[in-house]
């Protein structure tokens, strides 16, 4: 489903963000990507949703290869991938409902279907009661739930989470992790970059450790 074949990522000059990455992630897996800041966690995720392309090697996602994908095809790949971030990336001038609906509007989903899907996903992440609230009226945990709802509303096969609990209090963090577990149980693969090792202890799953752009540990599938 996701495969990295000898991937190198070089930013400017001789700064190697990733070096010789070989990796396979199967359908429905739950994977932690850990490592210190600058180890290449974000770069790894961005290569998956093809926001970046490898300097050398190949990344294959859902049948799309980084070396052959046409720019026109990228939007269609992204519709199958959900991404959430540490800073949520919600639109400040839209309320909760509108933020989630936005993800469907811009891919041309019919109006009636949008309403049905948005209400359903808001219930799933447990934020229905705040659907008219604006982001500034929500806690960090609640904002991340909205971001998750926005990612899920397009029924992705995978959810990429880049430090999703970085800006959230412990209680919120526990809820978000619980939510990600449920999402994974229903069949969506989850790849989560984090440096909060306490999360992993609470819910151990496959772990990939990056250091200076190299994989130094891969526990393989654990359940």
């Amino acid at each position: 489903m996701i495969e990295f074949r000898d991937v190198y990522m070089v930013y400017e000059k001789n700064w190697y963000a990733l070096q010789g990455i070989n990796l396979r992630i199967e359908k429905g897996e739950f994977v932690y990507v850990v490592g210190p800041s600058g180890a290449g966690k974000s770069t790894l995720l961005r290569l998956i949703y093809m926001d970046l392309f490898p300097t050398a090697g190949e990344v294959v996602v859902a049948g799309y290869s980084s070396s052959r994908i046409k720019p026109k095809e990228i939007p269609y790949l992204r519709r199958k991938i959900g991404v959430i971030f540490q800073d949520f990336k919600l639109l400040k001038d839209k309320n909760v409902y509108e933020n989630v609906a936005f993800a469907l509007e811009v891919i041309g989903t019919p109006r009636r279907k949008i309403k049905e899907k948005v209400l359903k996903v808001l219930a799933e992440v447990g934020i229905s009661h705040k659907r008219h609230a604006f982001p500034y009226q929500l806690s960090g945990g609640e904002q991340q739930k909205v971001a998750i709802a926005r990612a899920l509303v397009r029924d992705p096969f995978i959810l990429l989470a880049d430090e999703p609990t970085g800006n959230i209090d412990p209680e919120g963090t526990r809820e978000i992790l619980e939510l990600l577990k449920n999402i994974n149980t229903s069949g969506t693969a989850v790849i989560m970059a984090t440096h909060e090792l306490s999360l992993i202890e609470r819910f151990p799953r496959r772990l990939i450790r990056l250091e200076q752009g190299r994989i130094v540990e891969d526990t393989g599938v654990r359940s």
Binding site: K80, E105, G108
Partner: protein
Amino acid sequence: MFVLREALRGMWRNRVMAFIAFGVIFFSLFLLGLFLVATFNLFGVIRYAQEKVEITAFLEDDLPREKIEEIKKRIEGMEGVERAIFVSKEEALKEFKRDIPKAKELLQALKTNPLPSSFKIKIGEGYKNPEAMKRIAKKISVIDGVEEVKYGEEWIRRLDKVVKFLFLFDVLLGVVISIASIFVVSNTIRLTVIARKESIEIMKLVGATERMIEAPFLLEGMIEGGAGGLFTAFILYLLWRFLSVRILEFYFPTDAILFGLTLFGIILGYMGSMVSVKKYLKGGEA
């Protein structure tokens, strides 16, 4: 629906810039419109004057009737000549007296009739331009028995030159105005693009196609340009009504101005936003 809403939202957010863009397009197109109407009208005057022009071939005195008939036939046989009407010395004198009554006494003092007989030559459609007339006049002037050929008037030829120059000026003005308008619109749209940076990022992230991302910006530019063009046409129309009633009547192609300027405004707006979209959307990553 989404696209229109986003376009209007973008304009509202940058309403000052949007208004400036509208204003600049209005002002530019207004200037262009004025020059175009002036050109149209001068061109109309020339066409009218050219319609009326004819070639006059003055004949030598005392030509026998057969000779005159022969000349008439030769002239009428030429390409571009419709008809040649004979004007005798007596008729010429009568016409002259009628046209310039004050010359009566002067002519009476002269005893003899100084005016030559002549042919008034009507020119066919498609030959009523300085070049063709010159050609015909030259051919007539070499006919035996023809003393002198006169055609057109110097001022018509001069006006023709003026209109050609004016037309060139219109084109030049059009180009300058287009560049200025595109520049202003692209700057306005650039601000909208920057203001909507986050929303663009999310659109890319959730898999909106490039076309979907661009559409609101292109529409915004087209609305700004189109509104500028439409308003220009409206103001020009009012100006025309006002001038026609009070000062002088002139030709005003209402439909052409209305549709032409609006369409031109839309095209300018589209091109302006395209410049920004290409520059600020295509380059960046999500």
